[in-house]
């Protein structure tokens, strides 16, 4: 290989990276997320233990009532929590449907289980919008939807390691807390209703 060819080979990655950056600002990650998504293992979810510091903040539920998140969570164990937004196209409808299905799978065991869905698009998802959404998904009475001002919601997302700077890049996860355990159980990835029910039952003392 002569020196010129060697130089060209070295130059190639730089040329490609430039051509990518020239694509400009808007959704430049769009193509990359497509690649990433294609390569991801399908229907995979992982379960892990986690520890969180719940922020002492006030949110609003779908009725417009103020809810102190720390107190609400402490008083409503066991609970399952996820992060959604109502105009989400692909992931959130599944997150919501799997909550609903988990409830059905658990039957009477779900009577004390509080479901909590926190919006990550608080400026659009006002209490009225969340109320409509809860009706559309036929949410049961022990399912609370929460919104708040933008900074507070970001604080909550960060506290539960669920923050992404662009809501379109959000990752699906479910967070469980039972009275039996000091820690939280976290499910990352999309899980079926029966998978979630199993996770919950394994981590509960009924």
């Amino acid at each position: 290989m002569n020196k010129f060819s060697f130089f060209l080979i070295l130059l190639l990655p730089a040329v490609f990276s430039c051509s990518h950056s020239m694509h400009g600002s808007m959704n430049h990650e769009m193509d990359h997320s497509a690649h990433k998504a294609m390569m991801e293992k399908k229907n995979s979810h992982s379960v892990s233990n986690a520890s969180y510091q719940v922020p002492d903040v006030v949110l609003l539920n779908q009725e417009g009532n103020k809810i102190n998140l720390k107190e609400f969570l402490e008083n409503n164990e066991p609970y399952a929590l996820n992060f959604i937004f109502t105009t989400c196209t692909t992931i959130c409808p599944i997150l919501t449907a799997s909550f609903s299905h988990m409830q059905r799978e658990l039957g009477e065991d779900a009577n004390d289980l509080q479901l909590i869905s926190v919006t990550i698009d608080p400026e659009y998802d006002t209490p009225a919008v969340l109320r409509n959404y809860s009706q559309k998904v036929r949410a049961t009475r022990n399912w609370t939807f929460l919104t708040g001002d933008y900074e507070t919601i970001v604080a909550v997302e960060k506290a539960f390691d669920a923050y992404t700077s662009n809501k379109m890049d959000h990752h699906p996860s479910y967070i469980f807390k039972t009275e039996a355990d000091q820690d939280w159980v976290r499910v990352d990835g999309l899980a079926s209703g029966s998978d979630l029910a199993e996770v919950f039952q394994l981590n509960s003392l009924f």
Partner: protein
Amino acid sequence: MNKINELLISIFVLFLTCASLPFPVQADASKTIDNSASDMIELGRKIYQDGELGDGSPVKAIVLGDIEVTGDQFTCLNCHRRSGLGGPEGTKYVLATNGGSLLVPRVDLYMERPAYTYETFAEAMTLGVNPKGTPFDPIMPIYDLPEPEMRALFGYLKTLSNKYSPGVNDVELHIATVVSKDIDPQLKNEMLQVLNAFIDNKNAQTRHEKKRYTSGPFYHEYRNKAYRQWVLHIWEVSGPAESWAGQLETYYQQQPVFAMISGVVSGDWNPIHNFSREKKLPCLLPNTDLPTIGSPADFYTLYFSKGLTLEAQTLHSDLAGNNTNGDIVQIYRQGTIGEKGAQASEKVARAGKTEIINLPLVENADWQEIKQKTIQPGVGAVVLWLGADDLEKYAEVLGEHLSSAPVYVSSSLLNGEYDLIPPPLNRAAKIIHPFKLKEDQQARLRQLEVWLKQNNISMSNPRIQGQTYFACLLLNGGLKHIKRYYYREFFLDLLDHGERMSLYSINYPRLSFGPEQRFLAKGAYIIDPATVKNHWVIPGH
């Protein structure tokens, strides 16, 4: 014997053919499926967009193996979008399902499969496998669709994004901006200068792209053939607003456009909004304080904010938050945009049962009388839907006799320039400001100023010039990612995922994008000079 066999075979084939043709659904005799092609396509559209079967009941589906969902919660449109071209969200990538994609074989780095036929499509929907037998990602639901509905859906998908939208050919992409003849010529010029400069620059920078594909690797063809020269059309409307639809139709017949961008007219944007909806023609970020606040089905027009309605909602949120008692006195000049602000406020107040007293200004208005009505007991708040000149007059007559009730000033009526508020109002009045705060705007304004200077334009109207420039950025961003798929719905689907573009916003804070979100900015500031505090308000929170 052979002839009998042939006859039997013919009868059998005829039977199969008839059996495979669409037939009316039995579930509800009052709502039967018509077999005409257009009705079948309409039924397919209803299944795709609304998740409804022919009898009006929701489509049933199962997702992730065991989650039962109904079509109204889980429509095809949800994931595959209005264009059917899908796209990424989070860690998932939704495949295209439009006719142009389904009916051709796919062989690329990610997938290899034959073209879909009706049979393989039906299998895909009910079993969750593609024509090669490869299972889909489990987030793709499997559907329980009766055969007529399955055929209707397949028929609809064949028509979905199957040919380029009007307004684009192999070399040009046409866009229009709407102006009304009675608009201030300077304002019109400020907007047009930005549009023309942006488009000239874009065309100059990409003038060779069309040629490059002939002399490079395969992906050059894929990329560079997508370039088009942009051609801007100025659609000037005049006379009564009721006649604008006809005038727009004439322009459209002469030269269809792919999208409308920016624009400025006197009065409501409604005639253009309706035209955009009827023609399924994207309308991107018009310069208006009077948008049409319709239903989510109004997919085609994207606004910066709800304009004066947002201001009115913010005002009443703040009043309610401060437990304001007493009448709300509104001053506005009759026949101006201020009157629209007062009307929007009245509409919001009616819902909250607050009492409103309107004081319209006419020529030779008695300012002393107006002043008395604003400072008398029982007044809960004073709202000034006034431009700079009238604010000056009101301030003059007030002297130092400020109302004890809170006073609010509309920032939109000052074009966002709240420095124009004269004393003593500037020390006491709360400003309803749906724009970025001055201090947060400086960096982006400086960038704009540099760009304007490069194009020999002076920055004379940061609001109009900034809004128009941002509209151009958004148009450019959407068209860049559209690649060669020139479908209007795909263009708008892409913009719905344009969240990162909010970083480039010059005039509005916290833009938030998303399907069904047609007003990018959702809130407004209440600037209170008395307490030196700025309070961000989202109406409804």
